[in-house]
Structure formats: C-alpha cells, structure tokens
Symmetry: C2
Subunit: 311 residues, 2 copies
C-alpha cells in the first residue's frame, strides 16, 4: 500500500473528533430552531419529518458548508441556513429512497425507516416537506442571518442547491440507480450515477458555503474540486463498508448492497482496486486545498478520515 | 337567488375564453423551453415529469400570476419563471396525491395517472423533480428574465412559493385531507384543509405576480384577498362539479369524492347552501379588486366564470 504523506493522519494538529462533535451540535441546535415541533392540525407530518431529521445523522454536508464559508474568509453564520437546508434535502432523499417503491428499506441508522413508523403517505409528504422547507429556509429574509447576506449570493446558493438536487443532480442519480438494479452497467455508468446521486450534493455543500462566505471564483472552484473527489471517496468507502463493516457500528446489516444487486465499486473493481481508488480520490481532494491556510485543516482531516471510517 | 351585479357576466367586454387560450399557449411555450425533453441517461424521469406537466392543464395558477404582475403595473415577463414554477409545483402535488399510498387515483384529466404509466418509483421522483426544478427556475439568474428582476423581489417570491407549498400550506392541507377520510370533521376543519391544500397556492400565484411586478403593499394585499376568496370559490365549485358535472367533460367519473368519503362542501352544507357560499366568495373576490382598473378585468371574469364552470 502506498503510504503517501497526505493520507497519513498524524500530521494534523486538529482534533477532528472534537471538531465534528462541536459542529454537529451547532447544526442540530439550528435545525431544532428552524424546524421546531408543531402542535397544529398537521403536526403528524412535522413529527415525521423531525423523526428522520433528528435520527443521529453525522451532519457531514452542513459541516462542509459551514467550514467552506470560513475557509474563504467568511463566517459560519452566513452559511447556517444553507447548511440546514442541505441536511433537510439530504434527509428528504433518504426518506424517499427508503420507500417500498424505491429501495424498500426497513432500517436506517439502526431505527425503523420513516414509512415503517408513519406509513407511506405521511413519509412521502414528510420528504416533500423537508425539500420544500429547505428552499424556504434559504430564501426567507426573516430567518437566521439571511438578511445580512447579499440577495445575489443567496439566489446563487439557492440555484446551486436546486441544480445539485434536481434532474441534473440527485434525482438523475437515483433514477439511474433504480434502473441499474435490473440491467448490467459498466464502471462509467456507476461513476456517473454516484457523481449525481451523492457527489452533487456534497460538492454543492462546499460551493454554497464558499459562495455565501464571499469566496472568489478561484476559491469556489478549488472547493468544488475538493467536493467532487471527497464525494467519490465517500461513495467508494461506503461500498467497502457494506462488505467489510461491522453491522453493530453501522446500524444496518452488511452485504445489503450485494443482496439488492447494487452495482458497487468492489463488485466492479474488486476490493484492492476499490481501496486504491478511494485513496487516490482522497489525495486529490486534499491536493485541491493546497492554496488554503489552516482554516482548511478540517476539510483535509475529513478527507483523510474516510480511509479509516468504520460507519 | 341574489343576482348581484358583480356575478352577472354580460358587462365584461373581455373575451375570457380567448384571453385564457392565449395565456395558456404562452405558458405552455415557456414550460416547454424551461423543461425540454432530455436524451440523457436519466431521461425517463424527465419524460415522466413532462407527461404530467403537459397533460392539458388549464394553467390557472400561471395565468393568475402573469395577470397580477400586469395589474400592479409590471410586465408579464417579469413573472414568467414564477408562473411556470407555480405550474410545476401544482403538477408535482397532483402526481404525489394520485399515488397508491395517497388518493390512489388511476385517471387524471382523462389519462392514466403518472404512476400508472411510469410506475410508483419514477412517479415519486418525477414529482420531486418538478418541485426541485420549480425553485431552481425561479432562483437561477441565467433563466428567462430573472436577471432583470431585483434579487430581493425574487427571494420574496421564492419565500412565498415555499410557504404556500410547504408545511404551513399545501402539505398541511394534504395531511389533514388524508386524516379526514377516516374520521368525522366539521366545516371549520374542511375550510382549513382547503385553504391550505388548494387556496394557499392560488393565493401565492397572485402574491408572487404582484411582488415580481413591483406592486406596493396595498396592491399586494388586495390581490391576496382576491386569491383567498377565489381559492375557496374554486374548491366549492369543484366539489359541486364532482356531484353535478358531466364525466365526459371532466375526464373523470362523477361522485368520486363521495366514494372516497371525502368531506366536501355539499356533503356538509347541502347543494343549495354550497352554491350560495360559492357565489358569496366570488362576490368578495371581485370586490377585493375594486381599486384596480381594466387590467384586472381578466381576474374579475375568472372569478365570475367559476359559477358557470363545467370542468
């Protein structure tokens, strides 16, 4: 195995675990404020949305977004509604993906999936709610620090979010994923699928943060590059975990991708070449950050951490 | 029956049918431009979205939006992306409402519903696509005349759209509608349900148009008032049509609300009082427009037309 300097973990002074935990708490507090429990007639669907939104997610996308804003010289506060919007869009996609008509999953993060608890109708609506409110959160001048951020920047962030989650992004990836379960696909198609299904939103997290934080074009492009490689490394290590991971740590049974005939990297490339490819993307992700100072250290550490992840 | 002047139809010089047809064509052409057919890997979901988007809808919401922009002294062009976004949100809501887990409808406008043609998974994603792209359409400065409209106005329009279609709007109405099928509800709940499920988006159509056209607060509020009464009149006449309408003209069997135990106005109030209530809301809708000149004539004519509608 090629122990390239950028992929060893002992040269970072940053305590990644403590950083992620502090950021996660910050995002959770903001989400709680932006989507509080409801006692209205329609409270069931709000409860269902909150059930999945507060299911112990790692808040990776929000953390990438907040950090990107700081990396380009802005403040995390300028990107806080965007960070929460990203988590809401991510959560909506999980709820709809788990539906019986889609992946038909009963468990997510060790708990029953949304439709198992609330039924299909409410689960569909809870996903719709999260998607809709994500855009409302980012657009509404009365919320958070929105009014302090230039309207043009917010519109640009909204556009990035819509493109990453729409027909040229996440939805494209999901359709191809569904179709690939019943036919043979090659590596290029699998890569195209992942770039759209998960990569687009991860990349958008960094781009939105950079735009809202006032980054220049060069800074924004560097963070987008980082995001693209991080997204692919994330997907490959996810596929590897499905085969090699500990079901207790992951909260779901291992081998579920294989059982569903999902076209994974290990299935197409084998374990060794998949690990090598994950490492290559981590290296490139870190490399994209070379013009940034120590504020980008969390992003470097997150990329390297993917090679050691257990869940 | 009280033949109030504002509800007779012979004092309008406007040819409503020709006006609606010209506006419909304008909206259809814009929708075709904003959501063209795709030959990408993910073309299936785009095709599914277009199947429902171009299913012969009347384009009521877009027409209200474009007209509102003109009524306050702006141009229809300033509201064109908003008008199309409204139709996309409306169409998404129909696709998801028709799903087996929701209303389980096989026919819509005389054609098989989306999931009957494309399957449930693609239908869910086609709805998600339309909802997501609606926000992208309104936010993206590279589309239509967006760049010519002040960013603050566009953010305000986006906020109105998100609120009207989100948990305090359409989704709230849909949840209450679902729940009311299995329990007794009173008139106040039915009204609350309709105000959210259909009224919010109709009202938003007018408010968005007024905002994008540069209306002042008083003008915007007058159009919102018109929209509220129009929305209720629309719902009541819709309920009446389900009982009294001609199935061939409507493209769906009559009596379907009764069969599903839907709580309609006629079911709660009887036919006579429902007709009277529709007329009252039409009067109030027209009354809300009293400070506007002849540019508001199409809005007056649309309201009056509801009392004569056949489909």
């Amino acid at each position: 195995m090629n122990h390239h300097a950028s992929t060893t973990s002992h040269h970072a002074s940053l305590d990644l675990k403590a950083f992620l935990e502090a950021q996660r708490q910050r995002v959770d507090a903001a989400l709680e404020r932006f989507l509080p429990a409801s006692d209205s007639l329609e409270k069931t669907v709000v409860e269902a949305a909150r059930y999945s939104l507060f299911a112990g997610g790692k808040r990776l996308r929000p953390i990438l977004c907040l950090t990107a804003a700081e990396v380009v010289g802005g403040t995390a506060d300028e990107a806080l509604t965007a960070a929460c919007a990203l988590e809401m869009v991510h959560t909506y996609s999980l709820i709809h993906d788990d539906l019986p008509a889609m992946d038909d999953d009963d468990l997510r993060r060790g708990r029953p999936t949304n439709h198992k608890v609330y039924g299909e109708a409410v689960a569909i609506l809870a996903g719709d709610l999260l998607l809709t409110e994500a855009f409302g959160l980012l657009a509404d001048p009365r919320i958070g620090s929105n009014a302090a951020v230039a309207a043009e920047r917010r519109l640009r962030a909204l556009t990035i979010l819509a493109r990453a989650s729409g027909m040229q992004g996440m939805i494209a990836g999901q359709v191809i994923d569904l179709e690939s379960e019943t036919r043979e696909v090659d590596l290029a198609t699998v890569e195209y699928m992942h770039i759209h299904k998960t990569g687009a939103l991860i990349s958008a997290s960094l781009e939105m943060g950079a735009v809202l934080g006032g980054g220049n074009d060069q800074q924004i492009q560097a963070l987008v590059q980082y995001g693209r490689h991080l997204g692919l490394a994330f997907q490959i290590t996810d596929d590897l975990l499905d085969i090699e991971g500990d079901p207790d740590v992951m909260g779901k049974p291992s081998g579920s991708d294989v059982a569903k005939n999902k076209k994974t990297y290990p299935a197409l490339l084998g374990l060794a070449r998949s690990r090598e490819m994950a490492r290559k993307h981590v290296d490139r992700a870190v490399d994209a950050l070379k013009t940034f100072d120590e504020k980008a250290e969390p992003l470097r550490a997150i990329a390297r951490y993917l090679l050691e992840r257990k869940a």
